[in-house]
């Protein structure tokens, strides 16, 4: 093998293909000229590498613009948590009463939410139904009375006509 001068850098930085690396190692072991070239190169390399890296004097941080809504949504959990804490605090203090019933939330300020008896509710509904029916019947009664009065009037007029003699 000829001298490795042209492949010296690749040899030192181990970028030669494995077979060529093996062959170059064998050559260097036998060739004083290439060993000297190698030593000089490595000496310079060692001097360069003695210089450590620097730490950047400051961190680079990019602040990227976000859409307005995204920024607002960032605050949503905090605002929701604050509102929840506020409601719980007021409820514990007894000034607000919250009730969950039939998929509805009832919030009462300053008074208790009246308890509703299921039987009472059914009774109230029945009363309302009967009151409606009564109103219908009363209306019907008025119309029947009115019709009756009209019929009576017609009968009286007809009867009076029959009693009057012709030529009076």
């Amino acid at each position: 093998m000829s001298h490795i001068t042209e492949k010296l850098a690749e040899f030192i930085f181990e970028e030669l293909p494995p077979p060529e690396m093996a062959e170059a190692r064998r050559h260097v072991a036998e060739c004083a000229y290439c060993r000297e070239q190698l030593a000089r190169f490595e000496q310079t390399l060692a001097m360069l590498k003695a210089a450590p890296d620097l730490e950047p004097p400051r961190d680079i941080v990019f602040e990227f613009d976000k859409p307005v809504m995204t920024r607002l949504w960032r605050w949503f959990p905090a605002v929701a948590a604050l509102a929840a804490i506020l409601l719980v605090t007021i409820a514990l203090a007894g000034r607000v009463h919250i009730q969950w019933r039939d998929s509805q939330v009832t919030i009462a300020f300053g008074q208790n939410i009246p308890a509703v008896d299921p039987n009472q509710a059914a009774l109230t509904a029945e009363i309302q139904r009967l009151q409606g029916h009564l109103a219908y019947l009363e209306d019907r009664q008025q119309r029947v009375e009115s019709d009756t009065m009209a019929t009576v009037s017609q009968i009286q007029l007809l009867a009076r006509g029959q009693r009057t003699p012709p030529g009076d």
């Binding site: 042209e6 010296l8 000089r40 310079t44 003695a50 450590p52 620097l54 961190d59 680079i60």
Partner: protein, 174 residues
Amino acid sequence: MKLGSLKPVDDRKIIERVLKGDTDAFNLLLRRWEKPIYNFIVRMIGDRDEAMDLCQDAFMKAYRELDTLKDLDRFSSWLYRIAHNTCFSKLRKDHGKIFVELQPETRASRMPIESRLAVETALQHLPEDQREVVVLKVFQSLKFEEIAAIQDAPVSTVKSRLYMAFEKLRAILG
């Protein structure tokens, strides 16, 4: 850091998040790449304050043009290419300006900070193309093919630049 095996999968996932609208995820890429890119630029420019501004410019450009990245697994090479363009734009603008004020020391038992200053100074004596090859190869551990892609040059040219640079650095550093 081995940039040739740079967790491309992780970068890919983050980039996909950014492209889907999770813009804050870009800061994860920043955290990961800020230091290597900053050090690359410092060694290219030789001015630490200026390097920080250029580093920020490079990342801003990367963010703006992220949707043009064709192969998400090659983000690192693409990012270095942006940093390369940023540096060379600055170097062209400041052509003739001398950043180096320190005299390189001899190699006798330097402390780390002295070594760094000596190396930074020595690097500034190299032509920009050679300096970049040294920085990307020695300090960023990129493969020759990756450097060739960044410099838009053949691999053989990249290796030649490295040899020439090492000859000069040996003379400067002792």
